[in-house]
Amino acid sequence: MSGHPLEDIDRLILGTLGEGAAVKTRQHLAACTPCQKRFDDGVLMLRAARGGLEQPGLGELDRIVARATAITEGNVAYQPLSRRVWGVALFAAAAGALLVLLWPTPTVGKVLTAGAELTIDGQPAAVDQPVPRGAKVIAAKGDSALLLDGQRGVLLREGAIARVEGAGDRVSLEQGRARFSVKPNAGRFLVLAGKTEVEVKGTVFVVDRKTNEETLVAVHRGEVEVRDGQKAVAVKGGQETTVKAQVASPAVEVRPGSLAEDRGDGLLDMILRALRKVLTAIDEAVGG
């Protein structure tokens, strides 16, 4: 089912999908039999959980009501396609679906260690599970680590949400804290945290997206370039910088062993003990 919007289908069923995405997903469902079966099975499972297949499942009536009441807002996107365009849409969607089926999403990495609750594109993930290009990875409980392109280790701290892009050479950190370990001479690697960009060639560093407006970058080894959209700030090993309201502060030296990654929790030794296994796995994997 690679290339099918499985996560969006489940979110549509569970009522956590935005309006625009819901319309697109419904249009896909109308033309894709395997996805429609997934939707149908999911809805039936939720109905069954209520004690009978005649019962409306979790969020089902709310979904129906939200969709129907949008009619009064003149939201034509909610209305089914007219018959005239239906054939064209079906043909285009079927052709697209066939293309997607024949052109599977490439794998750009794998899971090195999985915390208590790790998901990839909404599905629970385990060690050695492939990470497809464009995957959304959520470390909901516990820390988890990924190895991208065999050269870049990413430690996602609990609560972190990241999307893996490109050929595993670009990670968009949507929320939380992550530690990156990049093999020297592994080529360009970019970490995006909102509008802040961190570019690196070989180093170990941490990006903590505290809020949408504040991102902290701390470098353990090597050097990175932090771009805030206006200028670039070079941050070397043992230094850190904070980007607030799209302005990066000058890099500042930090006392050894007290970079933001550790200082944030105030329990350096305990954290390092807990993370040693994961960090070692990453270092071994990237040869750092």
């Binding site: 489940d10 979110r11 069923i13 569970l14 009522g15 956590t16 469902l29 109308a30 429609q36 079966k37 997934r38 939707f39 149908d40 099975d41 999911g42 809805v43 039936l44 499972m45 939720l46 109905r47 069954a48 959980a49 209520r50 004690g51 009978g52 297949l53 005649e54 019962q55 409306p56 979790l58 089902e60 009536l61 979904r63 129906i64 009501v65 969709r67 129907a68 009441t69 009619i71 009064t72 807002e73 909610y78 209305q79 089914p80 018959r83 609750e117 998901t119 909404g122 599905q123 629970p124 959520i138 909901a140 409980k141 609560g159 949400i161």
Partner: protein, 193 residues
Amino acid sequence: LDSSFLRALRGGDAEAFTAFVRAYAPRVRRLAMHHFRSPFEQEDAVQEVFLLLHRQKTAIDPLRPDDVPGFVLTLARRRIYDLLRSKGREPAKEELSDEAWVSDGSAPFEQAANTELAELLARFEEKLSPKHRDYFRKVFVEGKDFDEARDLLGLKALRARYLKAVLLEKLRHHGPLLEYLGKRDGNPNRERS
């Protein structure tokens, strides 16, 4: 549905239409379930029915509120039959009874007649960890509001989202439930998705 409400509905009041949809969605859904097997098709049929009702709202007589259920049923049947014909299918041979049309359809879990389903769900719950079980019972079985259940169990939003996705996935892989649904759709070897 008194006269003033029906006047507002006729006049295109969005809030009145929302209340109207809330009132009739369970019945229209039941009618759609009677004629369509796929939940996706059922939801599309419900949407088409309400689209037609919105276009025909001026035909509602505000002085005759008792006629509204019959009006909705007539238009709903007409639209569903049109949809079936457009797909080259015939309507169900037995029409939905009037009793089934007006019953509220909101019987709680405890009243479920299907004991087989109740038993296999009980086995499913037994296998869950206590944290998963609590959330499953509150949200999936009892149908509690997401935020209310989250507050009751002291969960963070991200954790609650995770639990919902994981529990749905676990349901998808619960063998006895797959067997039950397989028997229902005549495919005892139903594949795990």
